[in-house]
């Protein structure tokens, strides 16, 4: 009897712990995603319902009117294309220069290896705002102010540390005798890198590409400083301006915000495992 009570008490306590654990998790997950869901709800209700007091919890007459309006807006279409161009080119350039640099740091021996890695690490802590004035002046002199290049070049410089850092971690995971074998077969260092390492590191390179793309897609300070009109501005600059364009049209602002985040949420859901391994690759070993 006594033993039964103790046993029951113990299992009761551990199942209580389990319940508390899941309550904690549910709260955590809800807090993380609720703002997105709520803004989505704001984007699909009618204008009268949006201003209703008290606010409705579930939308009564869902409508896609705000999305039609946002997608029909040429400013928004341009911004999406501009964002895609700027982040796409930045990602390609970063991967191209970043992968060779990362390979040299991860696998080759040379005198300034540690200094180069320290410089790259230091740059990821760098306050970008400190250089917007000098860059503005230089870009004006070269004549690329208010062009895609002003954003692409600046984004590349600050995404490169991330790209290199991630790729170094991925390259180090590959077995060292691979290049040795290629070298024995008469390949040069650069051939060994191109023909052996790059194909084998493809999953890591892909993860790096996703993270670099997200970094460039989310960039705001440089774009907002160097690009002045809607022909070049990316979504991060244009959407906050919607607050002034669609002054009281909060539904349209909500719809625009949702449209921009949906591709990112999908990317994250599909590649979450890879992204987590990429994000934590440097942190643990560093």
């Amino acid at each position: 009897m006594a033993s039964a009570t103790t046993k029951g008490g113990a299992s009761g306590r551990s199942s209580l712990n389990a319940v508390l654990f899941y309550v904690f998790l549910v709260i955590f997950v809800l807090v993380s995603v609720l703002p997105l869901i709520w803004v989505f709800k704001m984007s699909i209700v009618t204008k009268t319902e949006l201003f209703a007091t008290p606010p409705t919890i579930l939308p009564r007459n869902p409508t896609g009117a705000e999305y039609v309006q946002v997608f029909g807006d040429p400013r928004f279409q341009h911004a999406l294309i501009n964002s895609a161009i700027i982040s796409g080119v930045t990602t390609v350039v970063c991967l191209f220069f970043g992968s060779t640099a990362a390979y040299a740091i991860a696998r080759l021996k040379f005198r300034f290896r540690t200094s180069v890695m320290t410089l790259i690490l230091a740059l990821s802590f760098f306050p970008q705002v400190a250089i917007i004035a000098p860059l503005f002046i230089q870009y004006s002199k070269v004549g690329i102010i208010n062009t895609y290049w002003a954003a692409i070049i600046s984004d590349t410089a600050f995404a490169l540390p991330l790209t290199v850092w991630l790729l170094v971690a991925f390259f180090k995971e590959l077995p060292a005798d691979l290049e040795e074998a290629a070298r024995v077969d008469g390949a040069t260092t650069i051939q060994a890198f191109r023909k052996v390492i790059v194909p084998l590191a493809a999953p890591g390179v892909f993860t790096t590409a996703i993270l670099t793309f997200i970094f460039a897609w989310n960039e705001y300070l440089f774009a907002n400083t160097f690009l002045f009109d809607e022909s070049t501005q990316p979504v991060t600059v244009v959407i906050p301006n919607f607050a002034t364009i669609y002054t009281v049209d909060y539904g349209a602002q909500a719809a625009a915000a949702v449209v921009v985040t949906v591709p990112l949420v999908i990317l994250v859901l599909i590649f979450q495992r890879r992204i987590v391994s990429g994000l934590t690759a440097g942190a643990v070993k560093g």
Binding site: V39, A133, L160, T189, Y220, P240, Q253, A257, G286
Partner: protein, 304 residues
């Protein structure tokens, strides 16, 4: 004689680095990335320091004025407000993110059903562009349609519109940042927790250590490296806050970075002060990093 041998030594070094095909290849591979970084990041810092001591404008290089820009900057109430906002924001949001993030990391550092879902939920706020999350939260804080304003009014917590009060705006910015980056903090700390071997805890438990002792004597010391990296990363990130303040408050809330931005892009009369503030941010951020490395003993070795 000494110069000759020094010359020889230097040439020997040079030959060793560039005579060897593998080392030469390493330099070829690293140079393009290094070139971009030096031209786009390092050179402008030096140029910015020069600018801050002149009365230049964005279109014309001026003459040397000594410390005038710095003196004016420290007398400018906008700068001082930005400085105090930035300090409060950085300390409070990083502290909140650390405590909550550590709790979450400890809780999910085990196998359980639905782990993938939790991880995905963690990443959703992180993947958002900061300005978009700021725009979303602005809608929720909004006076006419904002759910948070409605609830806060209903509970009698606030008497005025959140978005038109600077103190409330600063609190709102801290809330949004905590929402957005706590998960990231949790992820970094979780990665640190996962490399602590389980048998260390087992041994401590056998020796009779209770939960609190295990946490303070084992977890925290072994996690120190990961904690310092996460804290430094978040501190410097919060310290340079610009986009969150700019969009959430629709240019109302001042930080150090918004002060620089206004000097460079909006009020041309404050270009000099903006440059001085840019140098101020750079130098103080450097000192913060130095504090973490020297005083707190953060490991900076990038060698394995």
């Amino acid at each position: 004689m000494t110069t000759a041998s020094g010359e020889k030594k230097r040439r020997g070094w040079f030959k060793e680095e560039f005579g060897n095909p593998e080392r030469r290849a390493a330099y070829y591979m690293i140079l393009p990335a290094l070139f971009i970084v030096l031209v786009v990041a390092c050179y402008p810092v030096l140029y910015g320091i020069v600018l801050s001591f002149t009365d230049s404008t964005i279109i014309a290089f001026g003459s040397f004025v000594g410390l005038e820009n710095y003196v004016e900057m420290f007398q400018n109430p906008d700068f001082l407000e930005g400085l105090s906002n930035t300090l409060i924001y950085t300390v409070v949001s990083v502290a909140l993110e650390f405590v909550i993030g550590l709790a979450i990391a400890l809780a999910i550092n085990q196998a359980f059903r639905g782990r993938g879902l939790v991880r995905a939920a963690i990443l959703v706020p992180w993947a958002f562009p900061t300005v978009i999350s700021a725009a979303m939260w602005r809608l929720m804080f909004q006076n006419q349609v904002g759910i948070i304003q409605y609830v806060a009014n209903a509970l009698g917590l606030v008497s005025e519109p959140i978005l038109s009060d600077r103190t409330l705006l600063l609190m709102a910015a801290i809330v949004v940042d905590t929402w957005k980056t706590t998960p990231f903090m949790a992820l970094l700390l979780l990665a640190g927790l996962q490399v602590i071997p389980g048998d260390v805890y087992e041994a401590a438990r056998v020796d009779g250590a209770n939960v609190m002792q295990r946490f303070f004597r084992i977890t925290l010391p072994l996690l120190k490296g990961a904690i310092l990296v996460a804290l430094l990363f978040r501190t410097l990130d919060a310290y340079r806050v610009y986009d969150l303040f700019w969009v959430l408050s629709n240019r109302e809330l001042k930080s150090l970075s918004t002060f620089v931005y206004e000097g460079v892009r909006i009020s041309q009369l404050q270009f000099g002060q903006g440059n001085a503030a840019a140098v101020f941010i750079f130098v103080t951020a450097f000192l913060i990093a130095l504090f973490f490395i020297k005083v707190l003993g953060m490991r900076t070795s990038v060698e394995e």
